[in-house]
Symmetry: C2
Subunit: 210 residues, 2 copies
């Protein structure tokens, strides 16, 4: 059985936990606030186990469902315990003060920064191009199905995540090497600016059409 630990119990973490639970995985949901995490876990599925950040990770897949500024602290807390894991970065590393640039190197990505910080993990970029509502409903405002784009250098790791998402009822697609995280983060950034400007809603955004 696939096992997954999701760190962060906000809208994104909870939506991912629900898909994974529906896909038949063993799901652990961790956040700072134990009470809030229990509520989110219950919402995500009866089998989802709640815990707090710092707990031992039961998942072979670990999702960092955190805002980018919170990632470094969590990686430090789990130092040495992420080796061999499939580590999934979902962040859109915007400068939230200006909403006008990313805070990662222009020729790189948050995912590549994380891969350098945790060289023993198999890092994937995923979920950053889908709003939480489109994950939760499986559709982009009823117009097209939601597609999760997954980039990474480890094919087995990508297939494990894609397989779990498809089992959970959400389309997922190999978007290439981890290097493509640069483009995925640009897409996520653009989509956020369009939503903030009202050009698209938080239940919409970019839908990938075959």
């Amino acid at each position: 059985m696939t096992s997954i630990s999701i760190i962060g119990a906000g809208n994104m973490g909870t939506a991912i936990a629900a898909i994974a639970a529906k896909g038949g995985a063993s799901v652990q949901l961790l956040a700072q606030d134990a009470e809030k995490t229990r509520t989110a876990a219950t919402q995500a599925g009866a089998s989802v186990v709640a815990g707090v950040v710092g707990d031992a990770l039961t998942g072979e897949i670990v999702v960092l469902a955190l805002p980018y500024p919170a990632v470094a602290g969590v990686l430090a807390q789990y130092q040495g315990r992420l080796d061999g894991k499939i580590l999934v970065d979902i962040t859109n590393p915007l400068d939230f003060a200006t909403f006008d640039s990313l805070v990662v190197p222009a020729d790189g990505s948050a995912a590549q920064v994380i891969a350098e910080a945790v060289p023993g993990a198999r890092v994937l970029k995923a979920f950053n191009t889908t709003f939480a509502a489109t994950l939760a409903t499986g559709g982009v405002n009823g117009v097209a199905p939601t597609t999760v784009l997954v980039a990474g250098d480890d094919t087995d790791a990508k297939n494990a995540l894609i397989g779990l998402l498809v089992a959970g009822g959400v389309l997922a697609l190999d978007a290439g090497a981890l290097k493509r995280a640069r483009e995925l983060e640009a897409l996520g950034f653009l989509q956020l600016t369009l939503a903030a400007a009202g050009a698209t809603g938080w239940t919409g955004g970019f839908a990938l059409v075959k």
Copy 2:
């Protein structure tokens, strides 16, 4: 009446000419091959005037419907004749040998390179996130309407192009400052890699859903 000159009579240039003609603009279509350009102009609309690259530009809007490597030569040929024009860059500046990176600075864009080369022009980025077929049909594989994303620093210039496209029956949207061309080019690049991998078709791609 809006006037537009389109340099390049491939699938993109022809599709843009057809939308502009439908929108009631005075349309000039220029390319290297006079015969091929006449055929493309006829296809785009009865009122579209064909010519060759080097002809005087009759349009207040000038679209560079060219592959990125061809842009510098055309800009040199029109040196001094683009000042004051609304100059539209549609390129996806991929390294076509590797299909794995862009050939423009990572923190910039082809549009910004063009803006620096022609400081007297009002440069816009547009059309690079839509495949020719989605422009020609106005739809992303029948699932959602096509939306042309337009970035630029000159609001009047953006409104002129957006107004013409909407008059021609295609949705168009202000995607922010010219700086956002970096993200538009990343999106165009990602979309091309997904199409080349068969993950989306050339009549599909990313549709913007409200």
